[in-house]
């Protein structure tokens, strides 16, 4: 139990009011921005209706950062932009400058400290990711390590604008899918492939059996008794290794060092521009975990990026490119194998078939 604190305890105050951290030029032009221009992959300018300008310098971040990293950022913000900075939804850091002349010196200083300036425009943006082996109990793979290996390989696409459009990559280490992973141009997802093991000794102590049964999307869990003690059994034929039962019941561990790994999905999209938002679709059902640098995963992502770069028209997102050329050709170009796992057999499966005579030869 936490110790009693003598001082008056503060609770239910909510977040700090953001107004306190807005730079003066933003306060002045709040809601009055006219347009923006991208200066290069590391910087952009927003121009207000009255002509005021704010410059943004963006740098990548591994998301998992030390206090020393935070102090580095603070020192830079103090030196170049009155101490003001923000983060983006994709875990980038953005310095907010009112003096254009500070852009290049700030970038140089950041690079000197070993940080990556970029991520704006038609680039591979920072990879949104989850906790993995660093901090989560259900992960089928590490997150930070895979992301680091992929970003090392795609570094040129973070710092140079040379893709047809932006490419959003995201990583989730299990189907809980913290973050908006499933609607990314390329989604990398941890997969379990074995039925959870049931610890019948502990299950009654640790789990509530009805809610464990209810947690299963495929009705694969049934009550059971072993030596007169209540437990559950799993139908191996129907279990899809989603790990939902483990999330509610710690006595049903699903992680398996030999059988866990990674799947790759493409063609998701969050924005409504031109086409509607959509989920990513399966490309590679399984790649075994291969730490520390997951070379096959890195190679697969590189293959997709290269094919997209060579094939897409300017402005086309990955999904628009694939829909133009068709999935058959996508598999042909990339060399990935189309398997029985690529045909959907879950809830909306029927809606995914081709009800027409239209094919490309």
């Amino acid at each position: 139990m936490p110790e009693e604190v003598k001082k008056k305890r503060i609770t239910d105050i909510g977040p700090h009011d953001f107004h306190d951290y807005l730079p003066p030029v933003i306060k002045k032009n709040y809601g009055k921005w006219a347009y923006h221009e991208i200066l290069d992959t590391g910087s952009m300018v927003h121009v207000a209706e009255n002509g005021d300008k704010i410059y943004t310098v963006r740098m990548g971040s591994p998301r998992l950062v030390s206090g020393s990293f935070v102090r580095d950022l603070c020192d830079m913000a103090d030196k170049y932009c009155g101490g003001y900075l923000r983060f983006t939804t994709r875990n980038n850091v953005e310095f907010l400058l009112d003096d254009e002349n500070n852009i290049e010196p700030l970038k140089k200083d950041l690079e000197k400290l070993g940080y990556n300036v970029g991520g704006i425009g038609n680039v591979v943006a920072n990879i949104v990711h989850t906790q993995g082996w660093v901090h989560c109990h259900t992960s089928a793979s590490d997150a930070s390590g895979v992301v680091k290996a992929v970003m090392d390989e795609l570094y040129e696409y973070f710092v140079e604008d040379k893709l047809p459009s932006k490419v959003r990559i995201a990583f989730a280490c299990c189907l809980n899918m913290c973050g908006s992973v499933a609607s990314s141009d390329i989604a990398i997802m941890g997969m379990h492939r074995k039925v959870p093991k049931i610890d019948s000794e502990k299950i009654l102590n640790l789990c509530e059996i009805p809610s464990t049964i209810a947690a299963c999307p495929t009705n694969s869990i049934r009550p059971d008794t072993i030596d007169g003690k209540q437990t559950v059994k799993i139908n191996d034929e129907t279990c899809v290794f989603c790990g939902s039962c483990y999330t509610v019941c710690p006595a049903m561990p699903i992680a398996d060092s030999l059988n866990d790994g990674i799947s790759i999905w493409v063609g998701g999209k969050v924005s409504n521009a031109r086409t509607k938002p959509t989920f990513s679709k399966l490309v590679i059902p399984f790649i075994p975990n291969d730490p520390p640098r997951w070379p096959k995963v890195v190679e697969a992502v590189k293959t997709i990026i290269t094919a997209y770069k060579n094939g897409a028209e300017p402005g086309e997102r990955v999904v628009e490119w694939i829909e133009r050329i068709g999935w058959t050709r996508f598999f042909k170009i990339t060399g990935f194998e189309f398997t029985k796992y690529h045909v959907d057999d879950f809830r909306l499966a029927e809606t995914t078939m081709n009800y027409s005579s239209q094919v490309r030869f």
């Binding site: 604190v5 503060i10 609770t11 239910d12 105050i13 909510g14 977040p15 700090h16 306190d20 951290y21 807005l22 933003i26 921005w33 006219a34 347009y35 923006h36 998301r63 998992l64 950062v65 206090g67 020393s68 990293f69 603070c74 009155g82 101490g83 900075l85 923000r86 983060f87 983006t88 939804t89 989850t130 082996w133 660093v134 901090h135 989560c136 109990h137 680091k148 290996a149 090392d152 570094y155 973070f158 189907l175 899918m177 973050g179 992973v181 609607s183 209810a214 947690a215 939902s244 509610v248 030999l258 866990d260 969050v270 924005s271 409504n272 031109r274 989920f279 975990n289 730490p291 520390p292």
Partner: protein, 395 residues
């Protein structure tokens, strides 16, 4: 000081150009000794290809059922520093705006009372301070609170709302995403700190349909900025763009409803057929701007795969005049949200997100339950099968 644990596998991830999380963990360990054991534990996972965090175990602060996520190692003897390695979710500011002063103070708390490591930010949006021990949780929490930062959500509750940068630095914003995010977070403190829902519930706010916070692909209620009237056209700037690139091919031809055309040199838009997709505005920000009658659309039910498969947000309310309602302390919106929570509480089951409930009971039943009428904006097309369950009230 020598290294406590050898980490040959993790050392491989210090190579390469992208900023290394391993280096960050090492830097954190220099300030907070317990984090050396985190390096050992993660190296162990890299060797064994499996997580070594235990499932279960409680952590928390008094009076709150959320905000501290319990985490315990499987090997407390080998890695005593991470015997407990909880993460404290600290509610971020709207739009993730900070200054150096406050961030240094938060870094101090992370170093003095935790593992010196942070997630900036967690997937939902919170600042996460990693490596908290239960014994210090209260002090770390109160130190954050003294800085004006409360804890975020977790478990079966209202998760920490988040928003895009909006009017603070984006000309595309159709409403004040930061303000409503702040106001809703303040309005629902109890629902955030004391989990009492069937499962999690997320609110996210994007200022336009570019949806930079991915609201409509992950939050139960997504608020997407839009406008009702005409796109404002600056014909001179259109002409400038025409000089720079093929506007016909890359803007007009790509409009999903083909509602733009050139009459001579002038751009004309049939706004009655525009679906506010943002494409043309994204491509020609100097020439085109959204209209004056701004507000937002509400999409319902987006979620990740567990339990019954992923869902995208479904159009629920095409236009909500947020500015007007905010003058009444969001009376209409709060009414809608509480209707939904009541329906969910009554008819939902444990671990059922609201989108799954809607799917299970049927959209029409759900709409009746929350007091909304079915409208054509909600569907891609009307029913295509004849299995209609006529009801007696239909004469």
């Amino acid at each position: 000081m020598g290294k406590k644990h050898e980490t040959p596998l993790l050392d491989e991830l210090k190579k390469g150009k992208w900023v290394s999380f391993v280096r960050e963990i090492e830097r954190a360990a220099e300030k907070s000794e317990r984090t050396e054991d985190l390096l050992g534990q993660v190296e162990n996972s890299y060797r064994d290809k499996i997580t070594h965090w235990k499932h279960g175990g409680m952590a928390g602060v008094r009076g709150y059922g959320a905000g501290l996520v319990g985490r315990f190692t499987e090997f407390p003897e080998k890695y005593p520093g991470v015997k407990e390695c909880h993460s404290m979710r600290v509610n971020q500011t709207s739009g993730f705006f900070y200054n150096s002063d406050i961030l240094r103070k938060i870094a101090d708390i992370a170093e003095q009372h935790a593992g010196g490591l942070l997630n900036l930010h967690g997937s939902t949006g919170d600042i996460q301070i990693l490596g908290v021990w239960q014994a210090e949780a209260e002090e770390a929490f109160q130190k954050c609170a003294e800085l004006g930062f409360d804890l975020g959500g977790g478990g079966s509750d209202l998760r920490t709302p988040s928003c895009c940068v909006g009017p603070a630095r984006c000309e595309f914003a159709n409403y004040d995403t930061l303000q409503i995010c702040y106001d809703m977070t303040q309005a629902f403190q109890d629902e955030m700190h004391r989990p009492s829902f069937n499962y999690k519930f997320k609110l996210k706010f994007s200022g336009c349909s570019n949806d930079c916070v991915a609201a409509a692909s992950r939050s139960d209620m997504a608020f997407i900025g839009t406008w009702k009237d005409k796109i404002k056209i600056n014909q001179d700037e259109v002409k400038n763009y025409v000089k720079k690139f093929n506007v016909q091919k890359y803007v007009l031809d790509k409009c999903p409803t083909k509602c733009m055309l050139f009459e001579g040199e002038n751009l004309v838009i049939d706004d009655s057929n525009c679906v506010k997709c943002m494409h043309c505005i994204n491509e020609m920000p100097k020439a085109l701007r959204s209209g004056d009658e701004k507000g937002l659309s509400i999409l319902l039910g987006a979620k990740a795969p567990l339990v019954t498969g992923p869902r995208l947000g479904m159009m629920l309310v095409p236009f909500y005049d947020v500015l007007e309602d905010s003058k009444n302390d969001y009376e209409w919106l709060k009414g809608l949200i509480s209707n939904m929570w009541e329906f969910w509480d009554e008819y939902g089951v444990s671990r059922e997100r609201i989108g799954e409930l809607m799917q299970r009971v049927g959209v029409v039943t759900f709409l009746e339950g929350i007091g909304l009428e079915p409208i054509p904006e909600m569907v891609n097309h009307p029913r295509g099968n004849p299995f209609i369950k006529f009801t007696d009230d239909e004469d």
